[in-house]
C-alpha cells in the first residue's frame, strides 16, 4: 500500500478535513471533526465507534445525504472528482453510479409496496439512457439478485415484506451496487440481523469487494465485525478519529487508551472474565466535549497536559500506517486484552433440590405460527440460566410465559410453587408470582413511562411490595444499581440508554423478587455500557442471591453472565447444559453454526490478505 498520504488518489474515496456541524438557533456545534479517510479500490475500511462518536454522520456526510440542519466543511473525493464541490445535479448523478450507500435497517430501507426486482433495477438505463423494457428489467433484476446470492428468480416478483431480514439486506445491497459504483458505504449493515445471517452478509460484502473492486467503508459499533471484514480500522470517539491502523495491528497492539479500553470491554466468547473492564463516565455530547483530548476525562493515563491543547493524529514509530491521537502514545504501555479467566461455574452448581421455575412441555401457537414447541425448562435458586436463540426462536415468548404475561397454549409453568397455567389465579396468587419473578426489557427508551419521574416509577413497585419507608428505599434502590439518589427526581428523557437500563433493573428489583427475567437487556447498549450493566447484574446476583433467566442472542454475553444455557431454535430446545460446555463443545448442528458465526478476527471470515 502506498505510504504517501498527501497525494490525492484518483480512484476510490478520500476525504480531506471533512467536518460536520449542527446548526442551531444558539450557534453551531461540531459533530464530526476534520475526518480524513482513504479507501483504495478493492480495499475495505471500518469506522468503529460507540453511539455519539459521529460515525454515521460521517458516512452520510461523505455522500452528502445529511438532513438540512447538518452542514459539512472540507472535501470528499470520489474517483478523483471533488464530490462536494461539483453541482448538485452532477453530485446526484454520481450517487449510485460512483458511490453507493447501504443502510442499517433492511426493514425500512426498501420500499414496502414495490416489487424487489423493480427496486433493484430502478436506476438502470439502457445504452441510450432510456429506462429498460419490462423484459430487460426483469432479466437484469434476476442477474443482480444472483450476484448477491439470491438464486431463486421468483424473488424478483416478491415484495420486501415477504422476505427475511437477511434476504432484504441482500436486496438492498443489490440495489445499491446495481450501477457498479466504485465505493460502497455500508452503515451498520448487519446490526439488525441475526448472527448467522450477519456472517453471510459480511461474506457477501467481502466477495463483492473483491469481484467488483469495490472500496468498502463499513460503519460499525462492533469491533469483531470490523476486524473480521476490513483491512484497516478507523476508531472514532466523540467526533474525532482517535486511531487508524491495519486491523490486526489495532487488535493486537492498540495505541490509544480508548481503543484499548473498548477492546477490553468487549466480552470474549471463549472464556468468562472475572470482571468485565469498563470505561468510567460516558461519551460527551456534541457541545460538551472537553478541550484538548476528548477522552482525557475518562482516561486512566491522562495528565494535565492532555487537556491543554487539541491533539493531532500523529504517526506512531512502529508502523507508518498506524496513526494515533494521543500525546502520550509514545510513553504509555497499554495492556493487551489478555485472557483473565474468571471462575467457570462448578459442574454441580445448584441444580438439585426444588426448582424455582418449572416449565413442562409448553407450547404457544399464534394463529398459524408455532412460537414455542414443547419446551422443558428448570431454573434453580441462585443460578443464572441463559435462553439463547435467533429472532423467531421463541425465546422472548418463553420468557413472557415464565413471568405470566403470555398464556401457553398447552403445557405447564410453575413459578415459586404457583401453577400459572391452572385456570384463573387469584389476586393473592398473582401477587405471590409477581413478588417472585420480575422482568426487565430490551429497549431502554420505551421501557419507562416518559411522563413519570424515576422515583415515582420505583415507588410504585415498592408500594406493591408493601414497603413503608418509600423515600429511603427508593434512594437505596438507585444506589444499588449505581445511580445517585438524586436521580429519583429525573424523568427518563434526561437519562442515557445505560442509565435507563439501570432504572429498569431497579424497577424489577423494587418488588424484591427472587428471579429476574432479563430480555435482551444489554443488546441495545454500547459495548462499554454493556460491560457496566453486566458487572452490575453479577454484583446484584452476588449481593442479593438473585436468580436470572437471561434472554439474549449474543453468545459472548451468555458466556459472561450465565451458568447454564438452553439453545432454542424454531421454538424447540435443541441443546442445553453448562454454558462453558455448550459453547466450547457444542453437540447440536445448530449450536455449532451459531458459535461458528460469531465474527472472530482469525475465525470466520479470515483476515484479508495483506497487500
Amino acid at each position: 500500500m502506498s505510504q504517501v498520504t498527501e497525494a490525492v488518489p484518483t480512484a476510490g474515496l478520500s476525504t480531506d478535513a471533512l467536518s460536520v456541524w449542527l446548526r442551531r438557533a444558539d450557534g453551531r456545534r461540531l459533530i464530526a471533526e476534520s475526518i480524513d479517510l482513504q479507501v483504495a479500490p478493492g480495499e475495505s475500511i471500518a469506522i468503529v465507534g460507540e453511539s455519539g462518536s459521529g460515525k454515521s454522520v460521517t458516512a452520510r456526510a461523505v455522500l452528502d445525504l445529511l438532513p438540512p440542519e447538518l452542514v459539512t466543511e472540507g472535501d470528499v473525493s470520489v474517483g478523483g472528482v471533488p464530490f462536494l464541490r461539483i453541482g448538485r445535479a452532477a453530485r446526484h448523478r454520481m450517487r449510485g453510479s460512483e458511490i453507493a450507500f447501504v443502510m442499517q435497517d433492511p426493514f425500512t430501507m426498501l420500499n414496502p409496496v414495490m416489487k424487489v426486482g423493480d427496486q433493484v433495477t430502478a436506476a438502470l438505463r439502457d445504452a441510450n439512457g432510456r429506462p429498460l423494457s419490462r423484459a430487460a428489467r426483469r432479466a437484469e433484476a434476476v442477474a443482480r439478485l444472483r450476484e448477491v446470492g439470491i438464486t431463486d428468480p421468483a424473488v424478483a416478483d416478491k415484495y420486501p415484506f415477504q422476505l427475511s431480514g437477511g434476504m432484504r439486506q441482500r436486496v438492498g445491497i443489490a440495489a445499491a451496487i446495481a450501477e457498479n459504483p466504485q465505493v460502497l458505504v455500508a452503515d451498520e449493515p448487519t446490526t439488525a440481523l441475526d448472527v448467522t445471517t450477519q456472517r453471510d452478509v459480511l461474506l457477501l460484502l467481502d466477495r463483492l469487494r473483491r469481484t467488483h473492486e469495490l472500496g468498502l467503508v463499513l460503519i460499525t459499533h462492533d469491533l469483531r465485525v470490523a476486524f473480521a471484514t476490513c483491512d484497516r480500522v478507523y476508531v472514532m470517539y466523540a467526533g474525532q478519529i482517535v486511531e487508524v491502523a491495519r486491523s490486526d495491528v489495532i487488535r493486537r497492539a492498540p495505541r490509544h487508551p480508548y481503543t484499548a479500553a473498548l477492546l477490553a470491554a468487549d466480552p470474549p466468547l471463549d472464556h468468562r472474565m472475572a470482571r468485565l473492564r469498563t470505561i468510567p463516565g460516558s461519551v460527551p455530547a456534541p457541545g460538551h466535549r472537553p478541550g484538548g483530548c476528548h477522552f482525557a476525562p475518562r482516561c486512566a493515563f491522562a495528565l494535565p497536559a492532555c487537556s491543554a491543547a487539541p491533539v493531532e493524529l500523529q504517526l506512531t514509530d512502529d508502523d507508518a500506517d498506524h496513526r494515533v491521537r494521543c500525546v502520550r502514545a509514545g510513553e504509555i504501555t497499554l495492556e493487551p486484552p489478555t485472557a483473565q479467566p474468571g471462575p467457570e461455574p462448578a459442574a454441580a452448581l445448584t441444580t438439585d433440590g426444588q426448582p424455582l421455575v418449572t416449565v413442562r412441555d409448553v407450547r404457544k401457537v399464534f394463529r398459524d405460527k408455532v412460537a414455542v414447541d414443547g419446551v422443558d425448562i428448570d431454573v434453580f435458586a441462585g443460578e443464572s440460566v441463559g435462553l439463547v436463540g435467533e429472532s423467531g426462536s421463541g425465546k422472548t415468548t418463553l420468557a413472557r410465559m415464565i413471568v405470566g404475561l403470555t398464556r401457553p397454549t398447552s403445557g405447564t409453568v410453575e413459578v415459586g410453587g404457583v401453577e400459572l397455567t391452572a385456570g384463573a389465579l387469584s389476586k393473592e396468587q398473582w401477587a405471590a408470582v409477581r413478588g417472585t419473578v420480575q422482568m426487565a426489557f430490551q429497549d431502554p427508551y420505551s421501557t419507562l413511562n416518559p411522563t413519570r419521574t424515576i422515583g415515582s416509577t420505583l415507588r410504585e413497585g415498592l408500594r406493591l411490595a408493601g414497603v413503608d419507608d418509600l423515600e429511603e428505599r427508593t434512594a437505596e434502590l438507585l444506589e444499588r444499581v449505581g445511580l445517585p439518589a438524586t436521580y429519583a427526581q429525573r424523568r427518563p428523557g434526561q437519562l442515557s440508554g445505560g442509565e435507563r437500563q439501570r432504572v429498569a433493573i431497579a424497577r424489577a428489583l423494587s418488588r424484591s423478587p427472587r428471579i429476574v427475567v432479563c430480555d435482551e437487556v444489554v443488546s441495545a447498549l454500547d459495548v462499554s455500557v454493556q460491560a457496566h450493566i453486566l458487572n452490575l447484574l453479577r454484583d446484584l446476583q452476588a449481593d442479593l442471591g438473585l436468580t436470572y433467566v437471561f434472554i439474549t442472542h449474543d453468545l459472548a454475553v451468555v458466556r459472561q453472565i450465565t451458568d447454564r444455557v438452553y439453545v432454542l431454535n424454531h421454538g424447540k430446545v435443541v441443546e442445553s447444559g453448562l454454558t462453558s460446555e455448550v459453547l466450547d463443545r457444542p453437540r447440536h448442528d445448530y449450536t455449532r453454526r451459531l458459535v461458528a458465526s460469531v465474527p472472530q478476527a482469525d475465525g470466520v471470515l479470515g483476515l484479508p490478505e495483506p497487500r
Binding site: 425500512t108 409496496v113 430502478a122 423484459a135 432479466a139 442477474a143 450501477e179 398459524d368
Partner: protein
Amino acid sequence: MTVATAPQGSARRALAPGLLRYVVVRVVSAVCVMFAVSIVVFLFIHAAPGGPEHAIGGELATEEQLESIRQRYGFDRPLPEQYLQFLGGILHGDFGESIIQKTPVATLIGETVKVTLPLLAFTWILAMGAGLALGILTASRPGSRLDRFSLGMTTLGASTPAFVVGTFLAWLFGVQLGWFPALGAGEGGLDTVRHLVLPAATAAIVLLAVTTRITRVRVGQILEEDQATFARARGLGRWWTLKHVVLRNAGVQLVTLSGSVVVSLFTGLILVERVFNLPGIGSLMVDAIHDRDMPVIQGVTFCVALLVVTVNLVVDLVCMAIDPRLRARLETNR
C-alpha cells in the same frame, strides 16, 4: 440471459382465495347496508306525525281526502307488502311522485344530479389536486415560508363558513372582476364549467385545509423514512421518488382521504348551491324538507346513501389493489 424467460408471477393473475373472499364479503355487505337503508327510508313516511296520510295530505286534510290518499298510496295494506312494493319501485329506479311538483321523483333527481355531479367532481378535483400539490410541496420544504403560509391560509379557509367564502368569491370574481358568472348553472358544456368555477372553489377551499394537512403529514413522514434516503443515495430522481416512494406509500391514506372528501362534500354542497342559486340535489333536498315532500326526501336520502356506500366500497377495494401488504394480510388471517 436465459432466466429472463422465467414465468412472470402467475399468482398475480388468479385472484388469491383470501382476496376473492374479501371482495365478495365487501360487496355483499354493501348490498346489505343498502337494504337496511331502504327499510329506514321506507319507514320515514310512517314515522311522520299523524301517520303517512297526514304527512302527505297536510294537517288540514279532511277524512275523505285522507281515505283517498290511503288508497292511492296503499297505506291500508300491511307494512311488509307496502315495503316490497317500495323496494320493487327502487330497484326499477322508481321513487314515486313528488307531492308538490307532481313529477316523478326519479326525474327530479335526474335533473338536479346534472348540476350536482359536475359540481361534485369539480370540487373533488380541486380539493384533492390542490391539497396534494400543496401538501407535497410543503412537505418537501418543511418550515419554509411556503409551509407556514399554506398552513395559515388553509386554516383560515377552513374556519370561515362556506356562505361567507362563497359570498366573498361571488362578489370579487363575479361582480367586481366579472371573470366568472356568480349565479346559475349555465347552459351546458363549457358554460357549465364557467358557472361551476366559483361554487366549486368555495366548497374546495373549506376542504383544502384537511386535504393539505393530511397530505403534508403523510408525505413528510415518508420523506423522512429510510426508503426515501435510500432512493436518494442511489441517485434516483425527484420524480421517481415522488411517484414510486411518496405516492405509492401514501396511496392508501390518500385514497381513503379522497373518499371521505366525497362524502363530506355532500353536506357542504347544500350551502354552496344555496349561495350560488344552483338547482342541484342539495337545493332539491332543502325544498323537499321545507315542503314535507316525503317521496322526494326518501328518494334523495336513498341516492345519497347509495353514493356513500359505493364510495366506501370503491375506496376499500382500491386500497386492496394498491397495497400488497393489505392483500398479504388477507391470505394469512384465516
